[in-house]
Amino acid sequence: MHWFESQLLTLYQLAEAYSLSQKQEGNDILNRSEQGRQKRTEFIEAVQALVNRVINSAGVTACNAYHEGLILAQSGTTPDTDALGAMIQESVRIAQKGEAILHLGEIQQIVIVGGINKIAIITVGPLTLCIMSPKQTNLALSLSQYNG
């Protein structure tokens, strides 16, 4: 498994741990509140850390994380953060419509390739990661090992 895949796996596990902490039942609201906050912080801090690391990969010009189309973490330079957020939100929504029709399973990645740049969109729990690079960049190769 290459570097980025292993990082994503960690994020999926942290997102799952947070999701489970939210579903806990019981009367001990104080403990559940603290645990939920702790799990959420672990997850979000890991997302922020990954966003900060991905930008060091060859060819990557920006890496952002969004929640429901609004910016949550960012590194590098994005021409219009809000517009990108709206676009990826819409892209994921449309892909999710196709998910049922085409039996794709849960949408994990979308790649949009333009004449100049391309964007990889990756869903992680409630968040969406977005990696921007020039069209020619081989993202699989660039992200295969950490270049920090």
């Binding site: 939210q22 609201i29 104080l30 559940r32 509140s33 603290e34 939920g36 906050r37 959420r40 912080t41 979000i44 994380a65 969004y66 929640h67 429901e68 189309g69 609004l70 910016i71 949550l72 973490a73 960012q74 957020g85 409630p126």
Partner: protein
């Protein structure tokens, strides 16, 4: 259910509410986090600048009241959150329980999605705390 609780119970709940506000204050760009009661009085606040708490409390209730009316007028039922985008930052408001509101004040540099995500995830916990607390 009786709403009479021991002082220790109230203290621990109040302590947890303070922890939640402290956690919200740790987010990039958040400059104030407050709980405001239905009369517009600030019951809990963490801030890193001087703010007129009476004015903040009153305006939060007025703004949220107006937004709630607007939501009802267009058939959207309840308002779950109000975001005011200002020249120098954002104000985010969300109802908690029994007329209590959570208000966050941020600088322009705040990551809106980050603050909104935290607010959305925090509200259900605050609701449970307030149900027990009141």
């Amino acid at each position: 259910m009786s709403n009479i609780h021991s002082i220790e119970f109230r203290r621990s709940h109040s302590g947890e509410i303070d922890s939640i506000l402290r956690n919200l204050m740790s987010l990039q760009g958040v400059t104030a986090a407050a709980i405001i009661d239905s009369d517009g009085l600030v019951t809990h606040i963490h801030r890193d600048f001087e703010v007129n708490t009476d004015a903040l409390g009153a305006s939060v209730q007025i703004v949220f009241g107006a937004a709630s009316k607007a939501a009802r007028h267009v058939g959207h039922n309840l308002a779950n959150m109000v975001i005011c985008e200002n020249t120098e930052g954002y104000i985010l408001l969300a109802p908690v329980e029994a007329g209590f509101m959570l208000a966050l004040v941020t600088e322009r540099e705040a990551l809106l999605g980050r603050v909104r995500f935290e607010l959305k995830e925090t509200i259900p916990v605050l609701k449970k705390l307030f149900v027990n607390f009141l």
